[in-house]
Symmetry: C2
Subunit: 152 residues, 2 copies
C-alpha cells in the first residue's frame, strides 16, 4: 500500500470516528492500516502480530474491540468460514471465499452474481443487513487430491 493511500485510509477512519464522537487513537489507526495493507483477510491473531511490529505492547482485547468498532463503521467485514474461525477483511467490493473443510485454507473468489436479491429478501423481513457473505465449503485442490488417493 502506498503512502498516499495509507493517508486516505487514515482520513476515512478519522472522519467516521469524529462523526460519531469517538476518539482517534494510534491503536485504531494502526489496526486499520494493517487491514488495509493486507490484500488477504486476517485472523485477530495475525492482526495483532502485524500491529505489534509498529506499535509494541498492543493487546489482543484491544484488537478485538477495534475490529468490532471498524465493523460497525463499515470499514471492515467479518467472514465466518464454517470451521469456527473468523476472518477480517478490508476488501469491501463484493467477493466470495472458498474454505477447505480439511485444512481450513481460505481463498478469495470473484463473484459475478449480485448479492442484491438476497439482501432485499432479508430487508423484507425487517432485517438490517451489513452485507452478504458467500462461502463455498469443500476441499481445496491439495486436500481433494489426498482424499481421492486415500478413499478411492
Amino acid at each position: 500500500m502506498s503512502a498516499s493511500s495509507t493517508a486516505a485510509a487514515d482520513a476515512k477512519l478519522i472522519d467516521r470516528l469524529r462523526g460519531r464522537g469517538l476518539r482517534v487513537t494510534s491503536q485504531r489507526l494502526v489496526i486499520h492500516r494493517v487491514l488495509c495493507a493486507q490484500p488477504q483477510h486476517m485472523t485477530a491473531e495475525q492482526v495483532l502480530a502485524s500491529v505489534s511490529d509498529m506499535l509494541p505492547g498492543t493487546s489482543l482485547p484491544t484488537v478485538y474491540a477495534t475490529l468490532e468498532l471498524l465493523e460497525r463503521l463499515q470499514l471492515v467485514r467479518r467472514v465466518g468460514t464454517g470451521n469456527g474461525a473468523v476472518l477480517f477483511d478490508s476488501r469491501v467490493t463484493p467477493h466470495a471465499h472458498t474454505a477447505c473443510r480439511r485444512c481450513g485454507a481460505v481463498a478469495d473468489l470473484d463473484m459475478t452474481t449480485s448479492p442484491e436479491p438476497v439482501l432485499r429478501r432479508a430487508r423484507d423481513g425487517g432485517f438490517v443487513p451489513d452485507h452478504a457473505q458467500v462461502v463455498v465449503w469443500g476441499l481445496c485442490p491439495d486436500c481433494a487430491r489426498r482424499e481421492i488417493s486415500v478413499a478411492g
Copy 2:
C-alpha cells in the same frame, strides 16, 4: 417427522455407512434422526441435548465426530455464521441464513438465485465444493430497533 420418513432417513444413513465400510451405531442413527427431525439448524450442544433424551450418556466428542462424519457423507451441512458459532443443518435444499451481529440470532432465508455460478467458478480453480453457504450479516429486527433508539 413421521415414522416412515425416520425410517427413510435411517436407511439412507445405513446405506452410506455400509457403502464406505463404516459401522452402524445407535449414536450415529440417533444424531442423524435428531438433525432430520429439526426444521432448524442446531449447535453441537443442542444436538447433544436432544440426543441425550433418547440415548443418555452420549458424549460431546462423539457428537462432534459424528457431525463431521455426516458432513462427509453429505447428509448434513455446516453453517459458519460469522460470530464464531457453527450450526449444523440437515436441510439440503439451497437456502440462505441471516445472522445478527449483536445478539447472534440466526434465521433461515429462502434463496431465489442459484449458487451454481459461484460453485462453477470455485471448480475452475481446482476446488471441490460441497455447497455454497450464503450468510447475510447485520442486525435482526429487534436489535436494529434498539440500535436506532440508542445511536440516534
